[in-house]
């Protein structure tokens, strides 16, 4: 109570000044509007198709097949990831499993490996994986941490007294899990599963390498073959609708989770379950999981790295300078994109954290809407838009960086807003009353408090850009090779050994940045953030 009086919580009408400065509003609008550009452009393009033509285009057998395949893989992956993530989380959080902390980290690490790298590793092992089962294996092992992380966090935060009460009312451990624990996990579990669904819908690289066709891969194929604007736009709209459905469902689940929380006060640590005779099988299960999700991808890349004389067909011999220049362009694109994204996210995050109003809510929602627009759609829209109307930007590094900013603004915004909320207004007021000007307050109060969160946001954007494939592939200026485009060029011609050095560099860069971030800001915080948004 005392704190609540001292620092009124942010977002209350009494605490926030009524209207933001116009300059801030304008700066914040830039990011929000930019995110809407590809969405609006694509919809407008699609709207040019006449009704009859649209009907004919959409009712093609191809669209039906794509819809079936896409929905099938999304549903199967989501269910499997939900099951796997929940079981892992429960084992790590609620049992006396030996080495549970290590298993806990290992279950989260696959998030830091780009799915198309995992896919490349499996495909190079066996071409027989190029079917539904193979696709399921690859994307599930890449995305199950999106369920594992939130469910583990929910289990950790759950008051054990609920479970104990269930037991005292006559429920055995298993029935207690079904009737008491699972309902509490619902928001985390469903939220995680919907993120998996969203990511599988927009996954491009992994499926293309596996020759598994979804809406996303088909869009790319149509672009390569015909570049037929309205037709492709129509498919893109179908994909956007599917994504928006997931996004809306996810928002609903998260909104609902805020209600009905009645536990207060301090929590005890839950008593973990003994595994007894099940210990060895469970350990074996975890070992198998780690081999599949981490061992095979990393091991395969390292294997190909040692195959200098190209057991596979090698179109381009690996050269040191090329590797260096690809790494440099990846890193500099990452840094540039992080800077632009932060410049767009800061005013928006500040506005959302400090002011209230319908306009502000609208701007924030618009920015989050970006999550529902797949990378392939953003990239195609920007290609088409610049080719027609903004020729000088066409195939420029600037355009690529803008595309990254559009893709990752929602991701950065989550962290930026949270960081600014932490630097409470009351603290700034205290600084002002002690005789500091606003600039001095920003430097000595706000920045030290919000700084780590802002740093985390920028690092997350950097990691995402370095491992991004779709937009990079479509928008990279001619002659610019990044790690992602190099891996892609080599793997799609089955030159697995040639791809290995780039894949290694990229994976190392991603793991290293993730590790540094985790050390600085905490493992769960980081991976949780990373889990928020990943465009394939």
């Amino acid at each position: 109570m005392a704190e609540a009086v001292a620092f009124p919580p942010q977002g209350h009408a009494t605490a926030a000044p009524s209207s933001p400065p116009p300059g801030l509003l304008a700066a914040a609008s830039v990011g929000a509007l930019l995110v809407l550009v590809p969405l609006v452009y694509t919809v407008l393009q699609a709207a040019q198709v006449g009704f009859a033509e649209a009907k004919a285009l959409l009712l093609r057998p191809l669209v039906g097949e794509l819809l079936f395949d896409t929905v099938a893989i999304v549903v199967a992956t989501t269910l499997l990831a939900g099951l796997l993530g929940t079981v892992c989380a429960w084992m790590v959080e609620r049992t006396v499993l030996p080495g549970r902390n290590v298993w806990g980290v290992l279950a989260a690490v696959p998030l830091a490996i780009p799915p198309f790298i995992t896919s490349y590793a499996w495909v190079s092992l066996s071409a027989s994986l190029q079917d539904f089962a193979g696709a399921l294996l690859v994307v599930t092992s890449a995305y199950f941490p999106l369920v594992y992380l939130p469910v583990a966090a929910a289990l950790r935060g759950m008051d054990p007294v609920l479970e104990e009460t269930g037991r005292s009312l006559g429920l055995g451990p298993w029935r207690c899990f079904i009737r008491v624990v699972l309902p509490q996990l619902r928001p985390a579990l469903l939220g995680g599963m919907l993120l998996v669904a969203l990511d599988v819908l927009v996954e491009f690289g992994a499926f293309t390498l596996l020759r598994f066709r979804t809406f996303t891969t088909e869009l790319y194929a149509e672009y390569r073959t015909g570049f037929d604007g309205p037709d492709a736009s129509l498919l893109a709209v179908v994909l956007i609708v599917l994504c928006m459905l997931c996004l809306l469902a996810e928002l609903r689940v998260r909104g609902a989770a805020r209600y009905g929380r009645i536990a207060r006060g301090t929590r005890r640590q839950a008593t973990p379950y003994a595994l007894g005779a099940a210990t060895l099988p469970v350990l074996a299960g975890f070992a198998a999981l780690v081999v599949i999700t981490l061992g095979v991808p990393l091991g395969t890349i390292l294997y190909w790295l040692t195959q200098h004389n190209a057991a596979a067909i090698s179109p381009a011999g690996v050269s040191g300078p090329l590797l260096l220049s690809a790494t440099l362009s990846s890193v500099s694109l990452g840094l540039g994109a992080a800077a632009l994204t932060m410049a767009l996210a800061l005013p928006l995050g500040f506005l959302a954290a400090r002011y209230e109003g319908r306009m502000i809510t609208l701007l924030e929602r618009a920015a989050y809407l970006g999550q529902g627009v797949p990378g392939i759609v953003v990239a195609l829209a920007l290609v088409s838009l610049t080719a027609r109307a903004l020729q000088p930007l066409y195939q420029s590094a600037v355009l690529l960086i803008v595309a990254y900013a559009i893709l990752f603004l929602p991701l950065a915004l989550v962290s930026v807003r949270a960081a600014i909320v932490q630097a409470q207004r009351g603290l700034e007021d205290a600084g002002r009353s002690l005789g500091l000007g606003w600039a001095a307050v920003a430097w000595r109060v706000t920045l030290p408090i919000a700084g780590p969160g802002l740093g985390a946001a920028a690092s997350l954007v950097f990691i995402s850009v370095v491992t991004e494939l779709t937009a990079t592939l479509l928008l990279a200026p001619i002659g610019t090779q990044t790690l992602a485009t190099q891996v892609w060029a080599d793997t799609s011609t089955l030159a697995f050994a040639a791809a290995a050095p780039y894949a290694t560099a990229m994976t190392a860069l991603s793991l290293l940045s993730a590790w540094l971030l985790a050390r600085r800001f905490g493992r769960v915080a980081l991976l949780g953030e990373l889990a928020r948004e990943r465009h394939g």
């Binding site: 037991r167 005292s168 009312l169 429920l171 209600y259 009645i262 207060r264």
Partner: protein, 367 residues
């Protein structure tokens, strides 16, 4: 309804011994309050009874049936012990009625849903219209009552209440206590109430068991515990106490307050004398020989009563006293009053001071 027999129950967490050979019998249909400061092991005792933790040693029998013994651990769901947690722990995803019926077999949950839930709501003094509400719409006290109804629904052998009123504010607490006591009485259930609040233990328990550093130090009815505690620490823990040095002989003790009548069965010799502040009556000085006059050092007003700090000078020695008087009779600071002792006093042999330092939590406000 069950009788409980606990024998030599011990539990340690790592190096820290939390319960050290607890023995306790509770007869059927009674409510026993377990009173202890934080860290005394009372919650652990409750969790061992429920079966949430395993005992290191000792036995627990419910109705002569062992549920806990060396090599035996009946899981919580098979003990038929109802549990009411500190903050109710209602399932947030279920309505009030679904919470109440949670522990009943599916058939019963489906068929007799309305009537059963309503009967239990009535038992804990809540209107039937609450049945379909989500738990978070209820006040803290109402949540506790629903939690009790839920615990009583499967007709448990025993109900355990873990500090059920500690999270409620003072106004709600008394009403909720009465409702809970009435519901337990009506259901005729044996119950154990764990609390750190003396007044709660004394007002609700048929018997009160005081737990100190993992051992039960006294089990008695509330009045006996308050009037005749076993040592000076206990005296101060269950209420405010005046402690003086004295010499006891032949049913009387002589001390700064003169020669006072002893309760029966007290030790003799050099002793520590204990009386309750409300045993000191303050009167207008009449200047008769032998009367005890004291100066009022300060008065704290509580509403119905007032606490008066006194300085008594006898034989060149200054003794501080505390008296509790009805507030309308309270003197003013600086007044000279005559002190009269009413009722018998209790004395403790000096060795009972031995473990004073390490005992009960003194920071608790007394009385």
């Amino acid at each position: 309804m069950a009788e409980i027999r606990i024998e030599g129950l011990s539990k340690a967490f790592g190096e820290r011994s939390v319960l050290r050979g607890v023995d306790l019998d509770v007869s059927s249909g009674r409510l026993v309050a377990i009173l202890g400061a934080s860290g005394s092991g009372k919650t652990t005792l409750l969790r061992l009874l429920c079966g949430f933790e395993r005992a290191d040693d000792g036995r627990i029998a419910l109705n002569r049936q062992l549920v806990c013994a060396p090599g035996l651990h009946v899981p919580p769901e098979r003990r038929r012990i109802g549990y009411v947690a500190q903050e109710g722990a209602l399932f947030p995803h279920l309505s009030v009625a679904q919470n109440i019926l949670f522990g009943l077999p599916r058939v019963v949950r489906r068929s007799r849903r309305g009537a059963r839930a309503e009967a239990l709501l009535e038992l804990v003094g809540l209107p039937a219209s609450y049945a379909n509400r989500p738990p978070h719409e209820l006040s803290g006290g109402e949540q506790q009552r629903v939690a009790l109804a839920r615990a009583l629904a499967p007709e448990p052998q025993l109900v355990l209440l873990d500090e059920p009123f500690s999270s409620l504010d003072a106004a709600l607490r008394i009403g909720t206590r009465q409702a809970v006591a009435a519901a337990l009485e009506a259901a005729g259930t044996t119950a154990l109430l764990v609390t750190h609040d003396q007044s709660e233990a004394l007002s609700m328990g048929h018997r009160v068991a005081v737990l100190r550093q993992g051992k039960l130090v006294q089990v008695a009815c509330p009045e006996a515990l308050y009037r005749r505690p076993l040592d000076a620490d206990l005296a101060q823990f269950v209420g405010e106490a005046v402690l003086l040095r004295g010499t006891a002989r032949a049913g009387h003790v002589s001390c700064a307050l003169g020669s006072l009548a002893l309760a029966p069965g007290m030790p003799e010799g050099e002793v520590e004398v204990m009386l309750r502040p409300e045993q000191l009556r303050l009167e207008r000085p009449r200047r008769t020989p032998g009367e005890l006059s004291a100066r009022v050092e300060g008065v704290t007003f509580f509403g119905a009563g007032a606490s008066v700090r006194l300085l008594l000078s006898t034989g060149g020695e200054n003794v501080e006293l505390a008296a509790r008087v009805p507030s309308h009779t309270a003197p003013r600071s600086g007044d000279i009053v005559t002190v009269v002792v009413s009722g018998e006093v209790v004395v403790f042999a000096p060795e009972s001071r031995g473990d004073r330092r390490s005992c009960l939590d003194r920071s608790k406000p007394a009385g």
